[in-house]
């Protein structure tokens, strides 16, 4: 009985190799899709705490930083950003004392983040954001 051609699995030497071009097309399509769809670079993050009435124990002198569009004021007195941590420490009873940061209506988010960065760099991490 002659074998049907569809079921002949004999390994012939002259087997046709699949064409590579469509596969490469598909792979490049996927590559381009993922390159456009993915977001690169690991984001960093800062923890934000709101100022909640009665949430913690606030001790010592008032420490209110008002963030403005061109810098910051500590208890109403304008300071250079780099001078803020030293001025703050004079008012802090201990290292973990809370500092209140309040943006004014002109300040952009980047201004507030810069102030928070400056304080975090100096080791002042108990920061609450007030409205």
């Amino acid at each position: 009985m002659p074998q049907s051609k569809a079921f002949s699995f004999d390994t012939s030497r002259r087997r046709r190799r699949p064409s590579l071009t469509p596969m490469v097309d598909v792979v490049f399509l996927l590559l381009v899709f993922f390159m456009l769809a993915s977001r690169f670079g690991q984001d960093v993050a800062l923890p934000l705490s709101p100022a909640v009435a009665g949430a913690g124990s606030y001790q010592g002198a008032p420490r209110l930083i008002t963030v403005t569009a061109d810098g910051a004021r500590l208890n109403g007195v304008a300071f250079e950003l780099s001078a803020l941590p030293d001025e703050l420490r004079k008012l802090m009873p201990d290292e973990n004392a809370t500092v209140v940061v309040r943006p004014d209506s002109e300040a952009a988010l980047q201004d507030m983040v810069s102030v928070i960065d400056e304080l975090s760099d100096a080791g002042i991490r108990q920061i609450v954001i007030a409205e």
Partner: protein, 131 residues
């Protein structure tokens, strides 16, 4: 003596098993990856020197004009839904805020207060790593 056999180059590696493996990997990564939903509007996060890494999760988006979105919801509804979703979860990871750097900082302060009133105790602001 027949030298014909020894002069023939060795047979090429078959390409089909490689394609099989590549597709297997492709399907594996497609199934396991979670595709991030597109941003509802263009958001350019502020630059920060913070060292904390951003947590994965669905963020609250805050646009440059102060528009707020979470999933398909916008405005106060978005804040309420995000807070509700966070409260339903394990509450160990912070609620993520992805805000534009030029948004008024008071918007973020207001958002934080809104979240705190809804019971969200942990939140973080995504930022780009300062070069």
């Amino acid at each position: 003596m027949d030298m014909q056999e020894e002069e023939r180059p060795p047979p090429r590696e078959s390409i089909v098993p490689m394609i099989n493996v590549v597709f297997l990997l492709l399907i594996f990564f497609l199934m396991t990856a979670t595709i991030a939903p597109p941003e509802p509007f263009e958001v350019e996060p502020p630059a920060s020197a913070s060292e904390g890494l951003g947590e994965p999760g669905q963020p609250i988006f805050v646009g440059a004009e102060g528009q707020i979105a979470w999933g398909a919801a916008t405005g106060d509804v978005a804040v309420a839904q995000a807070a509700a979703a966070w409260l339903e979860g394990e509450q160990t990871t912070p609620l993520i805020i992805r805000a534009d750097k030029s948004v008024a900082a008071t918007t973020i302060a207001g958002l934080l207060k809104q979240l705190a009133t809804s019971g969200v105790t942990k939140s973080q602001l995504l930022a780009e790593e300062r070069p």
